[in-house]
């Protein structure tokens, strides 16, 4: 277990975790719930806490990287009923960081949600947990019981005027329920389908009430910011983006797993921590931010730092921090076919471009992969992907289209080879 719990020397969220010290007493021993105590005992005004979050440069860790403080400030102050929701529906292929946070440090998320609820004036919160990680759900239930028993949740927390109830809810594994409004629909007991925005959840969210949804890792950062100050957190990162980031490294590396790094660490360092490319092979390509972010050729990636702006400049996205490493033996056509099949499977079917487009892409990729590609297929692929992008209700359409466009852009020769020779270039030449 220890191999998987080595998050690196930069770790602050995952520091000192052994896999067994997740309980409340352990968390408190590590200084847990002190931030909450300080806020409630010293009666720090919500505006002041919000200012700290804003000053820390914390950006959403779920994928979009939206400044968290600003998101919280969108919540209408006067609304009598408001919700805070944790998005633990971690379904992006390649991403497995939230599972570790909840499994090994659940109270850090709970404390973050309590503070968030305090800032935004929410009386109720939900933690929506991915359906396939039942063990994590059960652990979170235990952690909530502990927090309730210790008086960190419930009525008049620690003798203050602030009351907050928190509940866990487990989904059933639909990728689309990780989209925040799809998550809310599912939480309400309906079919998980994203809502059209506007109105945004900050105005019309869960049960029609103002709601803020943040990622697990985002909430986990909150107590550290309050405890150590916004400047400390900002200093951990790079530029205007503060903090460390968990990267889930998978694919062709020696030691796949989660690594916590300061934002701005070079990718080469992460690859080194993960033991380098498996078997000493050549690095071919990296998907730096989960399956929906554009793929980058290995040489570009090796020259890129891991922070929002650097990855964007390189032509991809920080996303959820899921780094998928592919070595020279990987057929990019096959990789894309697999990804397209995933998005075809997971499209909710609500809006036309995504419903029809993801199926079309999957069909095309299946044919090309199986040596049945036809001249013009690559152009059609690119055109279909282009026609999906920016025209759908939620980001799943873009998520399905971006890999297609980037794989075709960077590895067009492999696609051409498949179509012309009806077989795989990699198998023939590597």
């Amino acid at each position: 277990m220890s191999a998987f719990l080595d998050y690196g020397s930069d770790a602050v969220l995952m520091k000192d975790l052994t896999g067994d010290n997740w309980r409340l007493k352990d968390y408190v021993a590590r200084g847990g719930y002190e931030a909450l105590k300080t806020i409630l005992k010293d009666r720090i005004a919500p505006e002041q806490v919000l200012a700290e979050i804003k000053g820390s440069g914390l950006r959403g860790r779920g994928g979009a990287g939206f400044p968290t403080g600003m998101k919280w400030s969108f919540m209408p102050a006067a609304a009598p009923e408001k919700y805070v929701v944790c998005n633990a529906d971690e379904g992006e292929p390649g991403t497995f960081k939230d599972r570790d946070i909840l499994r090994f440090n659940p109270h850090m998320v709970i404390e973050g949600m309590i503070i968030a609820a305090y800032v935004m004036g929410c009386a109720r919160g939900y933690n929506y947990i991915h359906g396939e990680i039942w063990e994590v759900y059960e652990r979170c239930e235990e952690a909530l019981d502990e927090a309730r028993a210790a008086g960190f949740l419930g009525q008049r927390i620690m003798g203050s005027d602030f009351s907050f109830e928190l509940f866990n809810h487990h989904g059933f594994g639909a990728y689309i329920c990780g989209e925040e409004t799809g998550l809310l629909e599912s939480l309400e007991g309906k079919k998980g389908q994203p809502r059209y925005k506007p109105p945004f959840p900050a105005n019309v969210g869960l049960y029609g009430k103002p709601t803020t949804i943040n990622n697990v890792e985002t909430f986990a950062c909150v107590s550290l910011i309050i405890k150590n100050g916004s400047q400390w957190f900002l200093g951990l990162g790079k530029g205007n983006a503060g903090g460390t980031k968990l990267f889930s490294v998978s694919g062709d590396v020696e030691r796949p797993g989660n690594y916590e790094l300061r934002l701005g660490t070079p990718f080469a360092k992460l690859l080194e921590m993960a033991g380098g490319v498996r078997g000493g092979r050549k690095l071919k390509a990296v998907i730096p931010g989960g399956s929906s972010s554009p793929v980058l050729p290995g040489e570009i990636m090796m020259a890129t730092d891991l922070d929002y702006d650097s990855i964007a400049k390189a032509g991809s996205m920080m996303g959820s921090g899921a780094v998928i490493v592919m070595d020279e033996t990987r057929c990019m056509v096959r990789c894309l076919a697999r990804l397209s099949e995933f998005y075809h499977e997971e499209s909710c079917g609500q809006c036309t471009p995504c419903r029809e487009g993801t199926g079309w892409l999957a069909h095309l990729m299946h044919r090309i992969e199986h040596g049945e590609g036809r001249p013009g297929d690559i152009e059609t692929l690119d055109r279909v992907a282009h026609n999906i992008m920016g025209r759908t209700i939620c980001a799943l359409g873009d998520a399905a289209a971006m890999p297609v466009r980037s794989f075709v852009k960077h590895f067009r020769d492999e696609f051409v080879y498949h179509i012309e020779h009806h077989r795989c270039q990699v198998a023939d030449h590597v």
Binding site: A174, I176, K191, Y196, P198, H344, E345, E346, S347, C348, G349, Q350, C351, T352, P353, C354, R355, E356, G357, T358, G359, W360, H363, L364, R367, R374, G376, T380, N387, G390, R391, T392, I393
Partner: protein, 795 residues
Amino acid sequence: MSETVVDKSGWLNLEINGKPVQMPPGSTVMEAAQASKVFIPHFCYHKKLSLVASCRMCLVQVEKLPKPVPACATPVSEGMKVWTRSEAAIAAQQSVMEFLLINHPLDCPICDQGGECQLQDLSVGYGKGYSQFKESKRVVAGKDMGSLVSAAEMSRCIQCTRCVRFTDEIAGKMELGMIWRGDRAEITPFVSETVESEISGNMIDLCPVGALTSKPFRYKARNWELSRRKSVSPHDALGANLIVQLRRNQVVWVKPLENEAINECWLADRDRFSYEALNSESRLTKPLVKKDGALIEADWQEALPLAAARLKNIIERDGSDSLGVLISPHATLEEATLMARLARALDCDNIDYRLRQQDFSHTDKASQVFWLGMPIAEVSQLKAALFIGSFLRHDQPLLAARVRQAAKRGAAISSLHSAPADWLMPMAREKVVSPSQLAQALAALVVAAHRETKAAQSLPAALQDVTPTEEDMALVRSLLNAPEKAAIFLGSFAQQHEQAALLHTLAQRLADITKAKIGVLPEAANSVGLALAGIQPQKNGLNVKAMLEAPRKAYVLLNAEVPFDVAQGNTARSAMRQADFVLSLSPFKPSAEDVLPDIVLPISPFTETSGTFINMEGRVQSFHGAAPPLDETRPGWQVITALAGLLNQPFAETTPEAVRASSINSAAENATARLSNQIGEALSAMPKKATAVERIAGVSMYHADPLVRRASSLQRTVLAQSPKAAMNAALASRLGLKKSAAVRIRQGKNENAVTAELPWVCDERLPADTVRFDMAHPLTAGFDVCGEFHLEAAS
């Protein structure tokens, strides 16, 4: 119509395709485009349904926004600049059309929707003549949505979910849903695996493709082969506006004519599908004359003089009081007016249209006419309403849809009734009591209102002993909490009740104290019209009940069928059988074998004659004949005019225009003042609770009038199922029904005995010692609604 002046202060200025337009805040780009007469293609958007913005066909370009946005769901803002036909907008629209078509079968040549298909129309403007989609297309299995809506070709569905939203938002019960995901998503019924709504046909209009089509109309004709005529629905008193569509002079399809004040863009299923009766085998095409106990076809030259002669003979022999005239409240104003005029010319005042009424004490002398008490559209704006004895969904399905909208906006809707009902809307309070306790329960509300308002009027002596419950107080408070926006409605069950006058008086008192409006929900298409025209005893004539209980020597039935259309089925049957002569004017062959008229004259149904109905809000709606009369049928007004001539009582009018003008003139005389629900009855003592088992009788909605009874597809719906006897378990066990699936119901003695065996069902929501079985169905029409009956287990 005078132009209403709109205050546009605070409206937002924007531009659509360079043209300035002003819109109130909260409007959408789609509405702004409609206001400036710019068409934006769309599929999922519908003005009466919630926004989902899922088809993406209405993507438009907006200045400063990086991506195209759906016009239907994008709110307008000050200074916004929208382009619906720019390069970027058209590119987005064309790409969506390409996606919509890749899995669509493109089987337009064999698709019923061909020629009236939104997808087909828009694909001309936004699609291409060829497709780059070379994969195999999706196939979706057909679904069973009942006898009205065909869902056999679900591969054509483009997942716009209009039908799903319709069932949920308008019909009140989510009978359809979209299961599975992605391009495997399918629309399917899932609650009871078919569609049971009484307004389900609207889905056919809503479906923008050929996925949901009309089952009866399937493969009957192409859209461009049809001619279209405006008409008015002859069923309930809403008077829904119709577009009757004909092929070779035969009505083959009926669609709504949009009228925001009446039916909006909807139709109830019976408005839409009852046309099947018009073309059915049961249409009468030649006069029938009874010879040796059987009805034989005759020509007009024989039948009409014979009818006149026999009427004349009886009047000469037994006096004009020996004649009784029963007129259906579904008859046109013209027919009824002329028929009443003829009867009165013959010195007969035994005329009535109130065929299902039992208590006439408040309507016999009064010159006032009961009506909705407000414009139909106002019902949607109510904040609180109490329905007394109303089968609203079955009696006025589209009014129920309006009430549902009010309820969804938070209106407190309550019901006081003897029959538990599924209202398919959030109900504030529902009180169910036995028929004999209905007045008592209403009186409790009156007392509650007295207490709640500390009313100055002292409590009438009749109400001194009535004690309201906390529930009653709460119901009254819900009315008081909605000043100017509260209403109390008397439904068909209250009007047909033996104590209708008392119920009306109590309701009026409750309305007076709570300052709620009082409305009556008239039973049939022309109930208000015939009341205005005075189609009831004016001097000393007999009302329908008296006419039947003291049998006449001769009866004239206008569009009315005995025993189906009367409350006293048993009494009526016996009266008809005793009579020397029964003349029926009807579009249909008689269906009750045991009460055959002596002469039947074939008159035109509403599609084959001009006519006028006056609806529940007092709106006069005239229509022309949509089709020529079938074979030898003739418009009712012509037949009555001819009959009057033969009886030496000729009418001055000779044209349909003249008949209409004089009928409307006499009905409309002082109409505004006469439309009133205020009655001056004094409060009598509260009735005692009945000791015997009481019957609760509704009118089965697909048996309510001659037309629906013969509409074959409607007859195959779940709602048209033959009646069951419903009662609670205690009564069932007392009757020893445990081992028996059916209950035998008996009424009357000897030759007047009538029996029926009905399957019984347990309904614990029914009041104790009551049994519900509906009237107007062949199995139950022969019973008097009131009067003793006997229940026993069927062997």
